[in-house]
């Protein structure tokens, strides 16, 4: 391998990695925001992405609605669905037995329900492709080839993340979410309505999942099992420290770039291993993740 080729591969790997990494970053954000405010890793995140993808597909292809209706409708449906699940199912589970394990199991239940439902409708039987939001045209950035669709994906993801961070940092509701994440009891004592905050957090997480679905669906084949892409969101979240939102974003981009570099330099068959090697390396060197802060000792 000559130096020229190495240089070319590096450019291509980083460019493609940033594009797919931006989607992983969104997925990681969706996971971390729920974990931060309720200590629950949401194992139905992938199926939320999948279900949102099929809602969009249904409206667009089978109902022939225009894209400018399909996109907000999908995001809203995902927001409402996730918020209602939190309010109706998880609140009930929490009241019956407050241990987080039961909540985690309930999210697993949701993942099976969603997958079963999509299988039942029959849409998931044949792998389908989602029509791209923009007509893909090839563009060269340096020596890296990307498509206009790639640029739209990256730009949308970055804008969504920026809006999310702004909301988290500067709005009253965002501050309340941070307060719940730091100390739920103190948040209640200043008058934060926990039920409402949890609903909004789940809704946001669902909405972000829907955006990720809209971005990724033109690039992948849709099946009822496409939710497994969230594994990479989990990988990104773990690399970033699992409780850090900026960490989730950095982790997402890192995983995307590592995947692509491994694919180019080693073998495309090694891609599936790359995220897990990255997780192991990070956990060995820095057990709390890149942005995890100090390790806290909990009293049991």
């Amino acid at each position: 391998m000559t130096l020229d080729v190495v240089f070319l591969f590096l450019q291509q790997g980083v460019a493609s990695g940033l594009v797919i990494g931006s989607v992983y970053a969104l997925l990681a954000l969706a996971i971390v925001v729920i974990f931060k405010t309720s200590d629950v890793p949401n194992f139905s995140q992938g199926e939320m992405v999948m279900a949102a993808g099929y809602i969009a597909l249904y409206l667009l292809v089978f109902r022939s609605m225009p894209l400018w209706i399909v996109m907000p409708a999908t995001i809203l449906a995902a927001y409402a669905g996730a918020a209602l699940f939190r309010r109706l199912v998880l609140n009930q589970v929490a009241r019956a037995n407050g241990s987080p394990v039961n909540l985690v199991i309930a999210t697993l239940g949701l993942s099976y329900v969603l997958r079963g439902f999509v299988r039942q409708t029959g849409f998931g039987d044949t792998p389908r492709s989602f029509p791209p939001v923009v007509e893909p045209q090839s563009i060269m950035i340096g020596q890296a080839a990307v498509t206009t669709l790639d640029l739209v994906i990256l730009a949308t993801a970055v804008v969504v993340m920026a809006a999310f961070f702004w909301m988290f940092k500067y709005t009253k509701i965002g501050r309340a979410m941070r307060a719940v994440g730091m100390n739920p009891k103190a948040a209640q004592l200043v008058g934060v309505d926990l039920t409402r905050i949890h609903m909004i957090v789940w809704g946001l997480s669902g909405g972000i999942s829907a955006i990720a679905a809209l971005l990724i669906s033109p690039k992948v084949l849709m099946t009822a099992d496409m939710g497994s892409i969230v594994t990479l969101g989990f990988a990104a979240a773990i690399v970033g420290g699992f409780t850090s939102l900026p960490g989730a974003v950095v982790g997402g981009f890192l995983i995307g770039i590592i995947e692509n570099l491994v694919g180019l330099f080693i073998s495309s068959r090694a891609i599936v291993l790359a995220p897990f090697v990255a997780i192991m390396l990070v956990l060995v060197i820095r057990p709390q993740g890149l942005f995890g802060g100090r390790v806290e000792i909990k009293k049991v």
Partner: protein, 237 residues
């Protein structure tokens, strides 16, 4: 003075463990009432049933004539009953300023919130120099001041104070209780939970003593201070 807060026969439990059985107490408007007892007697649980963090099994809680026992916790805060929790329950990764602003979370009157912000800093001038500092890096005494300040930002009519002296040096305890006294003189009604019975009895006008989740003794604070059994058990002489 009419009673601002009235508990009648309140019981509460954690799973199978009975934490409170039939607790009754009343807090007249404008007073400081102390709730004493040893560790695990149910003092904090009593406050948490009032704040609606612990469900009430039976009995009634009335604040200003309104039934509290079935309200949501944020409605209790909105109604003017605000708890200063025990320990260091600040929002660690927020600045001191953000912590104080969180205290006014349920208020919509921006102008008076700003005025109250200044008033709180007048009570606790030390916090003024630390407004941008992360709350988790404050000393124990400063965190206690921040907690009281945060509660004041909600404009309470009744302050529930849980162990404000916990883990503080005698000098700081004196300082904090000086401020509690001032707050009361400025018109705030206070229900004070303490293990430090000596300080609590000299600050309050009336006191209740809890034992194993039941009300064991009550009376005017000066009387309890002279009571032999109280002196032996709670004052250590």
């Amino acid at each position: 003075m009419p009673d601002l807060l009235e508990l009648a026969g309140v019981s509460a439990s954690y799973g199978r463990i009975q934490a409170l059985s039939g607790v009754s107490l009343s807090v007249p408007e404008g007073s400081i009432v102390a709730l004493l007892g040893s560790n695990g007697a149910g003092k904090t649980t009593t406050l948490n049933t009032i704040s609606r963090l612990v469900p009430v099994q039976s009995g009634s809680i009335r604040f200003d004539g309104k039934a509290v026992e079935s309200m949501a916790s944020h409605k209790v805060v909105e109604g003017g009953v605000v708890q200063v929790p025990e320990g260091r329950e600040v929002f660690r990764d927020m600045s001191v300023r953000e912590n104080l602003e969180m205290g006014a979370y349920r208020r919509k009157d921006a102008a008076t919130v700003r005025a109250d912000f200044d008033r709180v800093l007048d009570y606790f001038p030390k916090l003024r120099d630390r407004l941008q500092q992360r709350a988790g890096t404050l000393s124990g005494g400063e965190q206690q001041m921040l907690l009281i300040g945060r509660a004041l930002m909600a404009r309470p009519r009744l302050l529930l104070l849980d162990e404000p002296s916990l883990g503080l040096s005698p000098v700081l305890v004196q300082q904090i209780f000086g401020i509690i006294d001032r707050l009361n003189k400025d018109g705030l009604t206070i229900l004070l939970v303490e293990q430090n019975a000596a300080v609590a009895l000299s600050t309050s006008s009336y006191a209740y003593i809890l034992e194993n989740g039941e009300m064991a003794l009550q009376g005017a604070s000066d009387q309890l201070r002279r009571d032999d059994s109280v002196r032996r058990t709670y004052l250590g002489h």
